[in-house]
């Protein structure tokens, strides 16, 4: 799941937000900031979420930039960092 905000051309903020909402797996929310709205993108995998953001959202007409703010990896396949520890572990 990724939380991001979108900067859009101010003149067409409403239209850009409506177009964004048509993307599956994406919800928008108000940010009370000129030229911006927030999005939460969910998907079955990080790949899918990334495709939504990079493949569709950033290319929407009126979007100037998409700025992700948080990413949660709920993926047990990510290994733990610790195997043996750092010899001497001084820094």
């Amino acid at each position: 799941m990724v939380g991001a905000y979108v900067r859009a051309k101010t003149a067409d903020l409403g239209g850009t937000r409506r177009r964004a909402e048509e993307i599956e797996g994406l919800e928008t929310f108000d940010l009370e900031r000129e030229g911006m709205f927030g999005v939460v993108v969910e998907g079955p995998s990080i790949d899918a979420v990334h495709d939504v953001i990079e493949g569709r959202l950033t290319r929407l007409e009126g979007v100037l930039g998409v700025f992700p703010v948080s990413l949660e990896i709920d993926d047990p396949s990510v290994p733990t960092g610790a195997v043996k520890g750092t010899p001497g572990g001084v820094s």
């Binding site: 799941m1 990724v2 939380g3 991001a4 905000y5 900067r7 101010t10 929310f29 940010l31 009370e32 900031r33 000129e34 030229g35 911006m36 927030g38 999005v39 939460v40 969910e42 990080i46 790949d47 979420v49 990334h50 495709d51 953001i53 990079e54 493949g55 100037l64 930039g65 700025f67 992700p68 703010v69 948080s70 990413l71 949660e72 990896i73 709920d74 990510v78 290994p79 733990t80 960092g81 610790a82 195997v83 043996k84 520890g85 750092t86 010899p87 001497g88 572990g89 001084v90 820094s91």
Partner: protein
């Protein structure tokens, strides 16, 4: 349970976004109950230096989010950093040392590998002298690591053959600041973004390479209708989307544009005569020596750059030059630039001419008025430039050529007097050329990938890896297998940034601490530990005085104390940036000489820059707000009269295109890290070549087809991407792919700027064919 967790994650995501866009009040309250432990840190990638929070759960690095409390980046991050948890935990991290035996890298113990490295270096030093060995470091190592390596090689071994990859990216910016203002590093800060009304973006794809800075510019432009953007770039990168004036010169011919803007500014009386009279001097180089000239000489010199004449030289329409000059002078103007200006055989001159515009309009040291060089790596500024880890400099603004500076460092380091040679060592390209001639016998390469990133790469790949009698010994320390580890004789597995504690110093002079949050995988060790071990073994072998480093420092905290002391009485004075402050605060901008000093937003300004209050540069006759370029000769910044020379290899009949290289949003430099996040890799699965559709039509190249790019040095292949980005006659290829057909640095040129020694990655002549 599952849906509760999902809802919670969603609330947290929304809160993080709201916090990031509203000053940070929300995140703390909402996230507190979460089972993740959040640790304050700093992004591992570019010099923007975004504050991040790293999430740890059950000993795993599971999440990353922007740090809403960060004073300058305010919770914003870009796509690259969000994938750091995955990148750090990539399955192919190096975990054990390896030694090449019969041509193959084989696992070894740390002791065996370190003993071999130390023996090879000691043998070379004893047989061929200290200058037969070299260190090639990185703007990605921690400040403490670069400082330690510099200390070891210059003050311990006695060679100035200390270089690092910032030579490839920012040396011209350093040369520009030093030759104009007398000291390196920007005088302004990100605070100026909020006050500027004109942004002059030069040779910088800010939208993709420094996205969070780009967002702040966008935000300013959206919030204030009178904010304008001038872009100067031969390639229409995504920032062209917000340009009010777009200047696209022929690649390498922007110097006449800068001069012409200065011409218009003075001719239309838009300059600041008082500022010029008080703070500037004018210089030209004659017979190889800088000579003082007058303002009138400068005006006369600029007659050669009327907008019409500049149009003929640069291809930029005269009326656009006039418009840009008027906007620039109106200001307040903040200029940003990166590699388009720096990676040039006239990079220092281009930097000087950028500064000229700020000086003649007096747009320095006031809110929103500053020339600001952006940096590509997280610690090129703090780690390599500031610690003096290049062949010609010593820590904190000192020079190897100055006896006083050498003596100061020898005393602080406890080195034998006379150990640091007075002559600069070999710069990066010359160092690798010496390696190719087998004159450098042993080289230590740390946290960087020259096998992919050096220009004219084939020659230097051979230098590092081609088997031959007397081939130099190469040791590479890295966290991942790269195009350089494959050439090494010994590979040492390194801890990543989240697995060690140290300081990064980013573009606006802010030093920030990143703490260790997890253990390194396998037997990996921090570069700092490896360097300590290496130094101790060299001491045992008698090529470094006993006790010079061994036993002196246990942790990076220890060496930080010495580094702070090294900054005493320099323009960098950061004695007040204690470890405790770094742990508690979101970084501090130097100078900050005392523990209660808040850090400096604008240098050279009385009342803001503490260097003007006490110490060797103090001047208490100044009134608050007055400027003094205290490090410049006679306290005057130099307006340079530079000839408008073009690139070292312009296109010709045989090689009619200009090749320019760079990056894309999702990938960082040679892709060592970002290519390990499948999601990032998939966004650009293969190397592409941007071609102007008019050129493509002429050559019969279709979108998506393969093209062959050939220079006098080598060939690479890529997928054609037809886009009116590069101007006609120019192509653009990112250097992020490591696979051999795409290795574009086999094509680029290793000609370099005679002043900064920075290679001209941005311009070389190539031919383009359908593959």
């Amino acid at each position: 349970m599952r849906s509760t967790r999902r809802e919670f994650m969603k609330t947290a995501a929304v809160s993080a976004v709201v916090a990031a866009t509203s000053g940070g009040a929300v995140a703390e309250t909402v996230l507190r109950p979460e089972p993740i432990r959040w640790v304050k840190s700093v992004c591992r990638f570019c010099g923007t230096g975004c504050g991040v929070m790293l999430g740890v759960r059950d000993g795993r690095f599971v999440a990353l989010r922007g740090d809403a409390k960060h004073p300058t980046t305010k919770g914003l991050v870009c796509a690259k950093s969000l994938f750091l948890p995955k990148i750090v935990q990539a399955k192919d991290r190096l975990k054990v040392p390896q030694i090449r035996k019969n041509g193959v890298l084989k696992d070894a113990s740390w002791d065996e590998a370190m003993e071999l490295v130390a023996s090879k270096f000691a043998e070379s030093i004893q047989k061929h002298g200290p200058d037969s060995v070299a260190f090639y470091g990185s703007g990605q190592a921690m400040s403490e690591e670069s400082y330690l390596a510099n200390r070891l090689f210059k003050g311990g071994i006695g060679t100035n053959n200390v270089e690092g990859n910032p030579r490839l990216c920012m040396a011209s910016a350093v040369g520009g600041y030093v030759t104009t203002f007398g000291k390196d590093e920007p005088m302004g800060s990100y605070d100026d973004i909020d006050h500027a009304k004109v942004f002059f973006l030069v040779g910088s794809n800010t939208a993709e390479c420094h996205p969070v800075i780009f967002d702040r510019i966008l935000a300013t432009k959206q919030a204030r209708k009178d904010v304008l953007v001038i872009v100067l770039d031969p390639r229409r990168s995504p920032i062209a989307e917000i340009a009010d004036v777009m200047l696209d010169p022929k690649p390498g011919f922007d110097l006449p544009v800068f001069h012409s803007m200065a011409h218009v500014i003075i001719k239309e009386n838009l300059h600041d005569p008082d500022f010029i009279a008080k703070h500037c001097q004018f210089k030209i180089v004659k017979d190889g020596k800088p000579v003082n000239v007058s303002f009138d000489d400068y005006v006369k010199f600029l007659e050669g750059f009327t907008p019409r004449k500049a149009e003929l030289q640069s291809g930029v329409p005269a009326d656009q030059i006039v418009e840009a000059a008027r906007l620039f002078a109106k200001g307040p103007t903040m200029s940003f630039w990166t590699m388009g200006l720096n990676q040039r055989s006239r990079g220092v001159w281009a930097n000087n001419l950028m500064h000229n515009l700020h000086l003649i309009t007096g747009q320095i040291g006031k809110p929103g008025m500053t020339p600001f060089s952006l940096t590509g790596q997280p610690n090129a500024c703090g780690g390599v430039r500031d610690t003096g880890s290049l062949c010609h400099i010593l820590p904190y603004g000192r020079s190897v050529k100055k006896a006083k500076h050498r003596e100061e460092m020898e005393k602080l380091w406890g080195a034998k007097p006379g150990t640091i040679p007075p002559k600069p060592g070999l710069n990066t390209i010359e160092m690798f050329r010496a390696l190719a001639r087998d004159e450098i016998k042993a080289m230590l390469i740390l946290t960087t990938n020259p096998g992919q990133s050096l220009p004219n790469a084939s020659v230097y790949r051979d230098a590092m890896g081609k088997p031959r009698p007397g081939k130099p010994f190469i040791c590479v320390i890295d966290a991942y297998p790269t195009r350089t580890t494959e050439l090494a004789d010994v590979v040492l597995p390194a801890a990543m940034w989240s697995e060690k504690t140290g300081v990064f110093g980013m573009s606006e002079r802010r030093y920030q601490l990143h703490p260790k949050i997890i253990d390194a995988p396998g037997e990996s060790r921090s570069d700092f530990d490896v360097l300590l071990d290496f130094a101790t073994r060299l001491e045992e072998k008698g090529v470094v005085p006993k006790g010079y480093i061994g036993g002196k420092f246990k942790t990076t905290d220890d060496i930080w104390e010495e580094m702070r002391e090294a900054s005493r009485d320099t323009a960098y004075d950061f004695r007040g940036i204690t470890r405790e402050r770094l742990r508690n605060e979101r970084g501090v901008r130097w100078p900050a000489p005392t523990p209660n000093h808040p850090g400096t937003s604008r240098r050279f300004v009385k009342g803001e820059d503490p260097i003007l209050d006490a110490g060797p540069y103090a001047d208490n006759t100044l009134k608050p707000g007055e400027i003094k370029f205290y490090a410049a000769p006679k306290f005057r910044a130099t307006v340079w009269l530079r000839p408008p020379l073009g690139p070292s290899e312009p296109p010709d009949d045989e090689y009619p295109f200009v090749l320019s290289t760079g990056r894309v949003l999702e990938h960082w430099h040679t892709g060592t890290m970002t290519m390990r996040a499948r999601e990032l890799r998939r966004s650009y699965p293969e190397c592409f070549c941007e071609i102007n559709p008019k050129d493509a039509k002429r050559l019969g190249i279709k979108n998506g087809s393969r093209v062959k790019i050939t220079s006098r040095r080598g060939t690479a292949w890529a997928k054609a991407r037809l886009i009116a980005g590069p101007r006609e006659g120019m192509i653009f290829v990112p250097f992020c792919w490591e696979d051999d057909p795409s290795l574009i640095n086999r094509v680029t040129i290793d000609a370099y700027d005679p002043g900064s020694k920075q290679p001209e990655f941005k311009i070389c002549a190539v031919k383009l064919e359908k593959a």
